[in-house]
Amino acid sequence: MDKPVLEVNHLKKYFKTPAGQLHAVDDVSFAIEKGHTLGVVGESGCGKTTLGRTILRLIEPTSGEIYFNGEDITKLKKDNMKAIRRKMQLIFQDPYASLNPRMSVSEIIKEPMIVNKMCSSKKELDEKVKELMELVGLAPRLVNTYPHEMDGGRRQRVGIARALATNPEFIVCDEPVSALDVSIQAQILNLMMDLQEKKQLSYLFITHDLSVVKHISTEIAVMYLGQCVEKAPTEELFAHPRHPYTKALLSAIPVIDISQRGKKPELLTGEVNSPVNPVSYCRFYSRCKYACDKCKEHSYELKEISPGHFSACHMNFTGEIE
């Protein structure tokens, strides 16, 4: 087994709010190997976006360790961080808001290379821009166009080209296809998978769309209110979901299969609880149909229940629910 590109241990990020402490990311650990994709799924407000930003130290973590190629980047000073930042990039959800409207395509793609002083001459810079545009499938004639003149799919390609400009090893993809139409979404997903193969990239793929995450990920982590409640290789998770929340999540997706019609999904009652001052026991307790008094005795712990398959539900440990 290769050494992981990224390893995150007990990462926590709390925010202070007037109502109390908001546990956006609470004790999350995982590792991603070279060329692999970890999918992070969860509903809005579960802390998946904060997780991505914290790993890149765009938000400073409250505690925990982030090892990138064996080096703990949470302890790095600002200047050393800059060198690491080249190797860790971010692709955004909204390809319109994430591109500076005043800059043309070439300026946007050049930006990271200029900042990191990667090219010695203007000609080299132009050459690199051309290469990157070709790599992500943008026609060379688009070099002087502005974001508002392009459609969502092309804008997202520009965003991907910018992320690739510094030759990163690891990319956080924050809902990169959620804002796109299905036919364009498929084009971008194919592109991202091709690039991963070509450049041996590792992805942290954040999304709420389970069918997308199943398609692209090698491993999936399900998040609920800042905590990772279940983690398993993709096939395993979809074949044998163990945590009650994962089960409910999977059954809530409307499948394109007319024979499944009328089959009642496992409806969750209630709303997502607030991550502000959460309870000390299982955070899913109030919505869980298996909830019992014993749940209140267990604090959060992610345990391996079968090889590679982790769950945080105490009933999974004892085999009480299957």
Binding site: V182, I184, P254, Q260
Partner: protein, 306 residues
């Protein structure tokens, strides 16, 4: 831009209107409601027959006002913007009674508000709260309550669950289906999610660049083999949860500019099965048996006679 859009819907049925951004789904809905902006929206021809009222396009604004919200209601995509943030939710629901049932006394209206809130699963005591005190799913329930307050015969839901999380989406869709059954409402469900359509609709119409390119019953669309190439592409673009696929097979190219539609079939520049005739001649609607209609030259000619 809509071009020759036709469909019909019976009592208590749900029609799924599927398509990508810019396909003209919302425009269709607004045209039925006669809510297109005056400056840019023209309905150049055709008719909209509604119940015993006859053609809605011939009605004057006064009659339309009485129909809108009372007999035809609409739910918009974003629950945040369809509620007025400074008015209590109870008041907002009551408003539609005040407009459409002015004969009711104040107490009767309040009672109806309570009933309708309970019906969508919100405790009546919460009617004194403001929209910002509700979560996204709850807000959408309030919007649905408002739309259903006068027990309309037709409900147009424009991407009602797109802004919601999957678990909440399942709750809301489930509730809508139950209410529909209870009240006997017909529904036009506008969405881009084929999964939602397959689980909730009896009839399906697939839109592309302002035209309905394929329509039929849900069984015909989801189980038959013969489809419009665009429908095939749409299905190929979605990662299937039940199958393992290495690569998706998306549709190449982009949606055409509605101001500058291609000649012939609107889909021909992106169509993998494009023929010479597609570039020049607009295809006729062909019946594939039953209610299954396709607008494509592949199925034209003497092959199947409707």
């Amino acid at each position: 831009m809509l071009n020759d859009v036709s469909f019909s819907l019976n009592n208590g049925e749900t029609l799924g209107l599927v398509g990508e951004t810019g396909a003209g789904k919302t425009t269709t809905a607004l045209a039925i409601m006669r809510l297109l902006p005056k400056r840019t929206g023209f309905i150049t021809g055709g008719e909209i027959e509604f119940a015993e009222e006859g053609n809605l396009l011939e009605k004057n604004e006064e009659i339309m006002k009485a129909i809108r919200g009372h007999r035809i209601s609409m739910i918009f995509q974003d629950p945040m913007t369809s509620l007025n943030p400074v008015i209590r939710v109870g008041e907002q629901i009551k408003e539609s009674f005040e407009v459409h049932m002015p004969d009711l006394s104040d107490a009767e209206m309040e009672k109806k508000v309570d009933e309708i809130l309970e019906m969508v699963g919100i405790p009546a005591s919460r009617k004194r709260e403001y929209p910002h005190q509700f979560s996204g799913g709850m807000k959408q329930r309030v919007v649905i309550a408002m739309a259903l307050s006068c027990e309309p015969e037709l409900l147009i839901a424009d991407e009602p669950t797109t802004a919601l999380d999957v678990t909440i989406q399942a709750q809301v869709l489930n509730m809508m289906n139950e209410l529909k059954k209870k009240l006997g409402t017909s529904m036009i469900l506008i969405t881009h999610d084929l999964g939602i359509v397959s689980q909730n609709c009896e009839k399906v119409a697939v839109m592309y660049a302002g035209s309905i390119i394929e329509s039929g019953t849900a069984e015909e669309i989801f189980t038959k083999d013969k489809h419009h190439p665009y429908t095939v592409g749409l299905f190929g673009s979605i990662p299937d949860l039940n199958k393992v696929t290495d690569r998706l097979s998306p549709i190449d190219g982009l949606m055409p500019d509605p101001m500058d539609l291609p000649d012939g079939c609107v889909f021909h520049p992106r169509c993998p099965k494009c023929m010479e005739i597609c570039k020049t001649k607009v295809p006729e609607t062909v019946s594939l048996g039953g209610e299954h209609l396709v607008k494509c030259h592949l199925f034209g000619g003497g092959e199947i006679d409707g």
